[in-house]
Each structure stands twice: as structure tokens, then as C-alpha cells.
């Protein structure tokens, strides 16, 4: 039996009072890659953003149900959102490095937690850039503006930046959808590498990607009412070869979406 890190219980998210996703219950195992797939508008990103409370930034969003992180309800009354986001990192669809140097991008997380010691910061920056398979490409230009990097490099920088706060979980929202195939391949290799130490949840609309990299797959679908629901969750192997639900089969065989 896998050890569970994140668990949602009957999770529903409303935007302006209208449910966007409804009744989601799923368990995310430690040090595995869990992919959330489904057609556009099924609420994949909305679900992902519940895991680090990014939905808090949208004023009209309201969340009911529970999200448990190592048994702690993330939406409970005493939860420190800042601490949640430090321990559950996020990488976005479009690479969004800060318009500062490569070094400052990675050092930002540790700095705001109060790490001032230059040697310690140097050490963190190098370790995270190595972990994100970017060190060899940027070690001679750490103080160059991050926006001079290519899209794929920027995205790996964003991963390095997320690793610098020493999270346990990495949330990735279509991290390769803005990248070319070679950069995508690098990100996927990197994810496999990172899954030895981190729990990864990835949203993707690319089924091949989900099949290639993930250990578990959640399939979501919005019905006629445009409310996203979890249709099926299971080991990726099983979802892609022996789906239990007819709709999952239709989707993975490309009959819609």
C-alpha cells in the first residue's frame, strides 16, 4: 500500500457561487507522479490550485470539503497559507521567472524565509540548479537576467526556484505545454528524476505525456452542466489499458476532447 501525502475529500470549488469542480475525492501517493488529465474546462487546474491554496488569490472562489496534507486540513482555521505554499511548490504553464538574475530567482524563496548567509545561498542555488538539470548551462552566467534564457531553460529555472524552498510536493500545471518537443522531453526526464525525492502532481492535456511520465492518473470530465468531476483514478497502466469507465476509454482512445 502506498503512503498518502495529499488527499481530497468531497472537494468542491465555486466561482461566483457556481461550482467549477464538485465532489472530488482522491488520494495522492508519496514520491509518485500523479497526472490529472481531461479535456479543456474540466477543472484540472482548479483542482491543482486547491493543493497550495492558490485559489485564495481569486476573490470569487470558495472551497468546501477537505484537502488533507499529511493529515492536516489545508483549509482549516489555523493553517498558515505561507507555510503551505513553501512546503507545496508550484510550476506554472507559462514559464514565469522573475525579471531578475538567474541567481536571484532561485535565491528568492530562501531569502524571504530569512536566509541571509551568502555561502548558504550559493550552496542552495547550485544544488537546486543541479537538481533541475540546468546548472551546466547557466553556471557561468548566474547573474545574467533570467529572461535571456530560452523557454525550456526558463521553465527548468522555475522548477529550480520551486525546489529552493525545500517542498515535499511539486504541483505542475501543464509545465511543458508552452515548450518545444526537445525541451518537453528534458522536463519529463527531470520529472522522473525528481520523483525519487518529491511527490509530483501534474496537470496535462497531453495524454501521451501522462502515459509516459506518471504512475497514477486521474481523469476528470465536465458534464453538460459544465461542472468538473473525477471520473476515474488509478495506476496509469490500468487507466490507459483497462479503463473501468466508458468515458475514460472514449477520451484516451481519442473519441472526444
Amino acid at each position: 500500500m502506498e503512503e498518502i501525502v495529499l488527499e481530497t475529500q468531497n472537494l468542491t470549488v465555486y466561482y461566483d457561487g457556481r461550482p467549477a469542480i464538485e465532489g472530488i475525492s482522491m488520494k495522492i501517493p508519496r514520491r509518485r507522479i500523479t497526472a490529472i488529465i481531461g479535456p479543456s474546462g474540466c477543472g484540472k487546474s482548479t483542482l491543482l490550485r486547491c493543493f497550495n491554496r492558490m485559489n485564495d488569490l481569486i476573490p470569487s472562489a470558495r472551497v468546501t470539503g477537505r484537502v488533507l496534507f499529511e493529515g492536516l486540513d489545508l483549509y482549516g482555521p489555523d493553517v498558515d497559507v505561507v507555510e503551505v505554499r513553501r512546503r507545496i511548490g508550484m510550476v506554472f504553464q507559462k514559464p514565469n521567472p522573475f525579471p531578475k538574475s538567474i541567481y536571484e530567482n532561485v535565491a528568492f524563496g530562501p531569502r524571504i524565509q530569512g536566509i541571509r548567509d551568502r555561502r548558504k545561498l550559493d550552496e542552495i542555488v547550485e544544488r537546486c540548479l543541479r537538481a533541475a538539470a540546468l546548472w551546466d548551462e547557466v553556471k557561468d552566467k548566474l547573474h545574467q537576467n533570467a529572461l535571456t534564457l530560452s523557454g525550456g531553460q526558463q521553465q527548468r529555472l522555475c522548477i529550480a526556484r520551486a525546489l529552493a524552498t525545500e517542498p515535499e510536493v511539486l504541483l505542475m500545471d501543464e509545465p511543458a505545454s508552452a515548450l518545444d518537443p526537445i525541451a518537453t522531453m528534458k522536463i519529463e526526464d527531470l520529472m522522473r528524476e525528481l520523483a525519487r525525492e518529491y511527490t509530483i502532481v501534474i496537470v496535462t492535456h497531453n495524454m501521451q505525456q501522462a502515459a509516459r511520465v506518471s504512475d497514477y492518473t486521474a481523469f476528470m470530465l465536465a458534464g453538460e452542466d459544465r461542472v468538473g468531476r473525477l471520473i476515474e483514478f488509478g495506476p496509469t497502466q490500468q487507466i490507459f489499458t483497462r479503463p473501468r469507465d466508458r468515458r475514460t476509454e472514449d477520451y484516451i482512445t481519442g473519441r472526444f476532447g
Binding site: P59, V82, R85, P99, K100, C158
Partner: protein
């Protein structure tokens, strides 16, 4: 004539009208500047800058008015900029999107359109009388601060709004508090835009005459203002005063003072453009 030719002709016609409008504006401005330069260049001299006003046109200078303008502008910037930027940050980054916020925003926009003499009357009642600041530099600066606050707030909000949401999200996702997001990511990127707003606001303030006359700024000052509570005059008032004299000598002095006012204004703008350029090189998108 074919439909297509007609469309192209209409396009050309509109381009011509737009060009004519641009040229008209530039020509009027050029004419004004040339006219003022022609009348005023002759009186510019070190003694014109360092002499007090006088009954005799050839001895009259702008020392006290220039000092007054510098004092008032410095204090106005000191009061208005922190207040305006802070208000903009509150409205853009903190305030809940509800009816009260919208009401506040609407009123700030309306305040930007209130005639400046109304601010003068407010300043007279509030700062000169109620707070007993008398007809001081401080009262003048506070009045002008009120006048330019709406401009500053609106411009700063535009600058903050232009910062991409993805940047805020990136910082929040790393566990930054709202203040850390604003301080380390949003403000540095928004700063050039805020600077532009600051310049717009101070350029407006430096040319204001009516509210300062309303609060009782003097028209003849033969001493240096030495502190915020001293009586004062400013360049636009000095210019107004000289223009309304019958002697031609004073009219030339007024033109000279206009040139000095323009120089102060341009150097203020130049400084801001330089700062903005330096910052934009650091935070390129």
C-alpha cells in the same frame, strides 16, 4: 469609383486629418515657446535669478519665487508621493473587489476633475484657518498635495495593474507573504510607471496658481523662505503678477520667469526619464 478605391481614399483622408491635428498642436506649442524665448531670453542673467522682486523692472528678479517653488514642490512630493503610492497599493493589491472599493475608485477619478480653485478653498479653510498654518509654505504644499493625489493614485494604479499576474502568482507560490510579493516583485516592476505618474502630478502642481492665491500666497516677497512655516510666493504667481503690470519691462521679466519655470519643469522630467530608463534596463520583460 470602385469600392476599393473609395476605401483607400477614406483611409488616406483620415490619415491626413490626424497628421494635420498633430502638426497644429506642435505648431501652436512651437509658436508659444519661440514667442516667450524671444521676449524672455534677454532678461536671463545671474542677477535675475538672485534678485528679489522690485518696483523697478530692470532690477526685479525671481529669487524668492524660485526658492518658493522649490520649497513647495519638495514638500508636495514629500507628502503626496508616499500617500498616493500607498493608496494605489491598497486599492490594487489589498482592497476587496466590492461596492465600497468601486465607490472609492469612482470618487478618486472624479476628484481628478475638480477645478483647482476648489482645492484652494478647502486648503484655506482646513490648513490656513482650522490647523492655523497661516499663509505658509506648508499650507501651500498640503493644498497642492490634495490636488495631485488623485492623479498620483490613478497613475500608480495603472502601473501596478500592468504588472503581470503571473509574477505575483510565482512569488505567492514560493511562500511569500503579500507584503513580500509587493515589496520584492511588484513594486520594482511597477516603479518606472509610478515615476511617470509622479512626474505628471508634480508637473501639474508646479504650474498651479489659483489654489495658492486662494490660500493667500503673497505676490511680493523680498526675503528668502527659510522654513515650512514661512510666507512665500511661487513662480507662476510672480509671472501672473508681472504680466498684469502695465510696464513693458515687467512683461519681459515675466517671459524670463516662464523660461526658468520651464527649465525647472524639464529638468524634473529629465531626471525622471533618466531614472526610468536605468530601471527599465534592470527589469526588462
Amino acid at each position: 469609383m470602385g469600392h476599393r478605391q473609395r476605401r483607400e481614399l477614406l483611409g488616406k483622408l483620415f490619415e491626413g486629418i490626424a497628421l494635420a491635428a498633430t502638426v497644429f498642436g506642435l505648431l501652436v506649442l512651437a509658436f508659444l515657446l519661440l514667442d516667450v524665448a524671444r521676449r524672455g531670453l534677454g532678461v536671463l542673467s545671474w542677477s535675475f535669478l538672485t534678485s528679489y522682486p522690485s518696483r523697478f523692472p530692470e532690477q526685479a528678479g525671481i529669487r524668492s519665487a524660485l526658492l518658493g517653488t522649490i520649497w513647495v514642490m519638495a514638500l508636495t512630493a514629500l507628502f503626496a508621493v508616499p500617500l498616493g503610492v500607498a493608496a494605489a497599493i491598497y486599492l490594487e493589491e489589498y482592497a476587496p473587489r466590492n461596492r465600497l472599493t468601486r465607490l472609492i475608485e469612482l470618487n478618486i477619478n472624479n476628484l481628478a476633475g475638480v477645478p483647482s480653485i476648489i482645492y484652494g478653498l478647502l486648503g484655506l479653510e482646513l490648513f490656513v484657518r482650522a490647523l492655523r498654518l497661516e499663509r505658509s509654505i506648508l499650507a501651500g504644499a498640503l493644498t497642492l498635495s490634495l490636488l495631485v493625489l488623485p492623479i498620483l493614485i490613478t497613475a500608480s494604479r495603472e502601473a501596478l495593474r500592468a504588472v503581470p499576474m503571473s509574477l505575483r502568482e510565482a512569488a505567492f507560490a514560493l511562500g511569500a507573504t503579500r507584503w513580500q510579493v509587493i515589496r520584492h516583485q511588484v513594486l520594482p516592476v511597477a516603479f518606472p510607471g509610478i515615476l511617470t505618474g509622479m512626474i505628471l502630478a508634480l508637473s501639474r502642481a508646479i504650474g498651479e496658481t489659483a489654489p495658492l492665491i486662494t490660500i493667500g500666497a503673497l505676490t511680493f516677497v523680498a526675503f528668502d523662505p527659510r522654513g515650512p512655516l514661512d510666507k512665500f510666493t511661487v513662480l507662476p504667481i510672480q509671472i501672473f503678477n508681472w504680466v498684469s503690470r502695465p510696464q513693458a519691462g515687467f512683461h519681459a521679466r515675466a517671459a524670463g520667469a516662464i523660461l526658468v519655470l520651464l527649465a525647472v519643469l524639464l529638468s524634473m522630467n529629465g531626471l525622471a526619464i533618466y531614472l526610468r530608463y536605468r530601471l527599465q534596463r534592470r527589469y526588462q520583460w
